[in-house]
């Protein structure tokens, strides 16, 4: 996807040294904001998006023409109340909604970077988006909030910039990407690279896209975002617009049709190479290892108030992995609250209409704001 007039972009002049060793400069950061920054500049919330999210959190996404990915949680009078807070979100570097990523043109070759783009990490993503705070002159955020990969960014943000936020809300995430999650990401990457249209990443020069591979990657990932119970209740063994099995390989079952649909709409809005890069950043995320096996050390310099939220049916980032963060924080006497929300909607719960979750998030933020 190319730069669009609907995309706000900040060109970062300051060089950024990436974990892979390369340095980037003069790179674009695409962002969106909601609400208004107050005089004291103390009402800002940085929302960090997940793997396939983007900066368009709520309302109509001007590029995809669909509802923003966190419309349930963000907006006027919602959990993250845009009447009260100035909400910012940055498209991650490596992404495909305007920030510096593999679909940008390499000035040296005049072609898209594709797989010549440097491998980025969650640490790089966070270090890049910090530039937006400087741009708006925000010394200290009121909060940094995110679910899934967004939650990893929250943890990394507090560890990198311990004094730049008053509160932090990592949701349905982990401090160290598990073998199971690396495995699912690898499955997705293999699906993409096995597509004969992938062309070692240089598909755009041939005017093709590895849409079949990317769709399969999305389908597999989508299953991991749901729960067995949720799937069974929503689809069961219901048939798709037919009364009998067709004894073929069409989508007989509703669940098959649903997954195919999810795959097909995804390829219209997401870049295959970005999918490779961002899943890699998730796999490399290991805050425990970064602090030599002691996660508490990641947070020892911060006074931020934490609120950690997990979901009962989330088997991708299960409660125990979220609790490990709580334990590390309690071990250093940090201010940390925690709740596990009852939900059948799996990992996706944080994106959906789950009233207990939305209520907890709102109460935490609003009460912390007046303190």
């Amino acid at each position: 996807m190319n730069i669009d007039e609907n995309i706000k972009t900040l060109i970062v002049k300051k060089p950024l040294k990436l974990d892979c060793g390369q340095t980037i400069n003069n790179f674009p950061l695409a962002y969106e904001t909601y609400g208004s920054l107050n005089k004291n500049k103390d009402n800002a919330i940085l929302v960090c998006h997940a793997l396939t999210g983007d900066q368009f959190i709520t309302g109509l996404n001007p590029i995809t023409k669909k509802e923003g990915w966190w419309s349930y949680a963000v907006g006027p009078n919602k959990s993250i109340d845009t009447n009260k807070y100035f909400v910012m979100c940055v498209n991650v570097i490596g992404g495909c909604m305007g920030s510096f990523g593999p679909s940008h043109i390499n000035p040296e070759t005049k072609k898209k970077y594709a797989t010549d783009f440097p491998v980025i990490t969650i640490n790089d993503i966070v270090n890049a988006q910090q530039n937006l705070l400087d741009y708006f002159g925000i010394k200290k955020l009121f909060s940094v909030v995110g679910g899934s990969m967004g939650g990893m960014q929250v943890l990394q943000f507090v560890s990198n910039f311990p004094e730049r936020t008053k509160t932090a809300v990592p949701i349905a995430c982990t401090s160290s990407h598990s073998a199971q999650n690396i495995a699912f990401n690898e499955l997705g990457r293999q699906a993409i690279t096995a597509d004969h249209n992938w062309l070692e990443g240089k598909y755009s020069s041939n005017n093709t896209v590895p849409d079949k591979g990317l769709a399969v990657a999305r389908m597999a990932a989508h299953i991991t975002y749901l729960s067995k119970k949720g799937l069974q209740e929503k689809f069961g063994r219901n048939l798709q617009e037919r009364d009998h099995l067709k004894f073929g390989f069409d989508a007989d079952f509703q669940i098959e049709s649903y997954l195919r649909y999810q795959g097909s709409v995804f390829v219209d809005r997401f870049d295959a190479n970005s999918y490779l890069y961002i899943t890699r950043a998730m796999d490399y995320f290991d805050l425990v290892k970064q602090y030599n096996g002691n996660l508490s050390d990641a947070f020892k310099n911060t006074k931020a108030k934490f609120f950690i939220i997990s979901f009962t049916s989330d088997w991708l980032y299960p409660t125990q992995e979220n609790k490990d963060i709580v334990i590390a924080l309690n071990a250093i006497g940090a201010d940390v609250g925690f709740v596990e929300i009852e939900s059948d909607k799996g990992h996706d719960s944080f994106l959906l209409d789950v009233p207990d979750f939305l209520k907890a998030l709102k109460n935490f933020l609003d009460k912390s704001y007046i303190e």
């Binding site: 201010d335 940390v336 609250g337 709740v339 109460n363 935490f364």
Partner: protein
């Protein structure tokens, strides 16, 4: 508000760090925050109660004190409070040890099974007592290890912890318990409140 909350608050020094184990809806936490200016944290097993605490702006984690106290370092709190729940744990012995490891002091309250009404109930009716402080039937009570105030005194000797202060609560009357009046206080107190230390 439970009648013992003000008594518990009177046992807590100002500007200290406090952990309320089984903090329920956070009423005691709020009282301590307001009156004693303490830095207070709570832990509760119920999601609903944790939600209520969050709506009050209290720092609470959802967890089971039987397993989740181990995440807190030694002496990380000045006081750890355990209200009316010691008898509900699978292993009260370990829980008491954990309270005194995590906190320099602990405040423990117990519904007194030695109260005359409880004893009379069992003696005359021959059924497990159901009273104001023990409202459940034997088959649905969360209480696994009922004890009396006298039992708690003996427990302190067996477990080798000190009882700094012990108070008996009957209706709204509070009185000190000592070895001389233990027999009577064990008969007439509905609730025992203990400030203990290793």
């Amino acid at each position: 508000m439970k009648p013992e909350y003000k008594i518990i608050a009177s046992l807590v020094d100002q500007s200290t760090r406090v952990l309320d184990v089984g903090c329920d809806d956070g009423t005691l936490m709020e009282l301590l925050k307001k009156n004693q200016y303490v830095d207070i944290r709570g832990i509760d097993i119920s999601k609903e109660k944790v939600q209520i605490c969050i709506s009050k702006g209290l720092t609470v984690i959802e967890g089971n004190a039987e397993f989740d106290l181990k995440q807190f370092p030694n002496n990380s709190f000045d006081y750890v409070i355990l209200g009316r729940t010691l008898q509900a744990f699978i292993n009260p012995e370990i829980v008491i040890k954990e309270l005194l490891r995590v906190g320099r002091k602990a405040i423990v309250t117990i519904p007194n099974f030695g109260h005359w009404r409880v004893r009379l109930n069992l003696l005359t009716k021959g059924t497990m007592p159901v009273t104001k402080t023990l409202p459940n039937a034997w088959y649905n009570t969360p209480n696994l290890h009922m004890c009396t105030i006298k039992d708690f005194f003996n427990f302190s000797k067996a477990m080798n912890f000190k009882i700094f202060k012990s108070l008996g609560l009957n209706n709204k009357d509070v009185s000190n318990i000592n070895s001389d009046n233990l027999f009577f206080k064990n008969l007439f107190s509905e609730l025992g409140i203990f400030l203990i230390e290793n």
